[in-house]
């Protein structure tokens, strides 16, 4: 079975720097890592390939340096890595990203399953997986925590919900997004690292994948980010001590004095 895994580069720190003009994340300079949620997608892709035979490919859209990051996925068992990189892709929102990835995936072709992480750690939208399925015209399931069965043309999986899980069957090809409960990603092996070092990362431009540039990048992104800011937490809290009785008394006095409560 052939699996394609979508991965995204995200900043490795919590201190995300923003470009004030475009309201997008500055990716250059910051330590880059693979979106942690995507590492579960990579592991699941590799496991499916190992169990069923076939090929596991990763695809990412990003700046040229992402190619180096994709080598890490080869070190843990991915067969081939494809990077969509073109100025035309710059400034993509989740719609434009879904579009570009769908074109890239169609270009790679011959796949049974596309796996994404449940969301990216930086944008946190969780939209690209489902968006991608729409663009590809195939079904999808989000928040998959276990694949119960997978064979040619069929998948049955558990979709995590707030108070349990649903069992979902779909025909393949399809898209799933996975949660961290699905597996424990392996560490790289030395043989994998050697292979990764020598591997050729295929870089494809908008033209290579036949993408309509009006649907790519900033142009293809209807999302308007008006402002970005780090929320300020300056709440002063006061701990009320004492026995429960004293605490209630003091709290009531406080609420009365602040006119949140009145005595009738």
């Amino acid at each position: 079975m052939n699996v394609i895994v979508c991965v995204k580069q995200v900043p490795g720190t919590n201190e995300v720097k923003m470009n004030k003009e475009t309201n997008t994340i500055i990716r250059e300079g910051a330590e880059a890592i693979i979106n942690p949620f995507d590492t579960y997608a990579v592991e699941e892709g590799v496991r499916i390939k190992e169990q069923t035979g076939g090929k596991a490919t990763v695809i990412s859209m990003g700046i040229p340096s992402v190619a180096e990051l994709l080598r890490q996925t080869i070190a843990v068992g991915i067969d081939e890595a494809v990077l969509l990189s073109d100025r035309a892709f710059a400034g993509s929102d989740s719609l434009a990203t879904s579009y570009a990835l769908s074109k890239g995936i169609n270009k790679i072709g011959d796949f049974d399953l596309v796996i994404c992480g449940k969301q990216a750690m930086d944008g946190d939208t969780a939209q690209v997986g489902p968006g991608l399925a729409e663009k590809l015209g195939i079904p999808h399931t989000t928040y998959v925590r276990k694949i119960e069965e997978i064979r040619k043309g069929y998948i049955r999986c558990q979709r995590m919900t707030e108070d349990g899980y649903e069992v979902i069957e779909m025909p393949l090809p399809a898209v799933i997004t996975v949660v961290k409960e699905i597996n424990e990603p392996r560490l790289p092996s030395l043989k994998g690292m050697m292979k990764a070092k020598k591997a050729e990362i295929r870089i494809m431009t908008a033209d290579d994948i036949g993408a309509d540039k009006d649907l790519c990048g900033l142009k293809g992104s209807p999302t308007q980010v008006v402002e970005t800011f780090v929320p300020v937490h300056d709440v002063n809290s006061e701990m009320i001590e004492g026995t429960p009785g004293e605490q209630v008394k003091r709290l009531a006095e406080k609420l009365l004095s602040m006119k949140f409560m009145t005595v009738k």
Binding site: R186, L187, P188, S189, L190, K191, M193, M194, K197
Partner: protein
Amino acid sequence: MNYFLTEEQQMIKDLAAKIADEKIKPVALKYDEEGIFPRDIVKVLADSDLFGVYIPEEYGGFGGGIFEMALVVEELSRACGGIALAYAGTGLGTYPIILFGTEEQKAKYLPDIAQGKKLAAFGLTEANAGSDAAGIQTTAKADGDEYILNGTKQWITNGGEAEVYTVIACTDRSKGARGFSAFIVEKGTPGFSFGKKENKMGIRASVTSELVFEDCRIPRENLLAREGMGFLVAMKTLDRTRPGVASQALGIAQGAFDEALKYSGERVQFDKPISSFQAIQHMLADMAIQIEAARCLVYQTCRHIDGGAKSISKESAISKVFASDTAMKVTVDAVQVMGGYGYMKEYPVEKMMRDAKITQIYEGTNQIQRNVIALELIKSQKVSK
């Protein structure tokens, strides 16, 4: 310091470091406390291919040498010297086969060891033969196509967990150490069992057991080298693997130093971090000096050995003594820097101090190493006269 490792060596070191930080550190204190043999970590190491770094390529390894092994041991020991010993002890049990094995023996045993499917162990020491290894009593008697082993080996690292054992026994008692021979014994051979499991001060995640041979019959083809070469097999092996113990010591020292340095910046007394006190600063500086000096010595000794130098006994002894004495001193100082917290089991340096001690004792005590070094020095004087 930049040691200009090759790209492959750096990769090996980085991978071992990742395993140490992500897999070993979280379990090190528990496995120590409860004396748990780290089968799960052995599996991780096996999947990572690190067991093969010092095994020739034709037998499924990476074709590196003692340096590659030492880099792995150092990094693993930074997180836990005991867990690292499952790996290093396998190296000690495997080197006799690498150095003296026939084609057939290598083809039979090395691939599984390289893949981490089998651990190995080395059995020399007995109750009455420690430093004086020439005093061993275990016998191997030729009988047709077989040898019959009788006797008990004591304090054997990986005993019971390993599948492959290199064992030194007397084939001809009248010849003393010249009458020793080395054998490969597989776990499960009738007449081969495991006795007492030791309860130790440190490296408690490593298993140390007795090997008991009672009319244990092994095929003749399990003889390593020739009859009478057993003592040489043991000494040549130990000459080569001592930098492994040195790198274990180095890793323990580095681990303790890292903890002490971090703590010194966080612990506040007299309204200041303790790292602002010169007494602490100098202790930290001295620790760093000794560790770096030990690393230079260990790495260069490995290069000396792997580069094919003829005489390696003195050099490997020097690296073992210096690194293990460093580990002892650094871990004691790390506890001192951390004060009462350092003495508590909630913090890792207490364990590291216990773990460091063994590196001054096994694979030849530091006194014996100094004997070896001095003897070589005196010999060189006689030659030059």
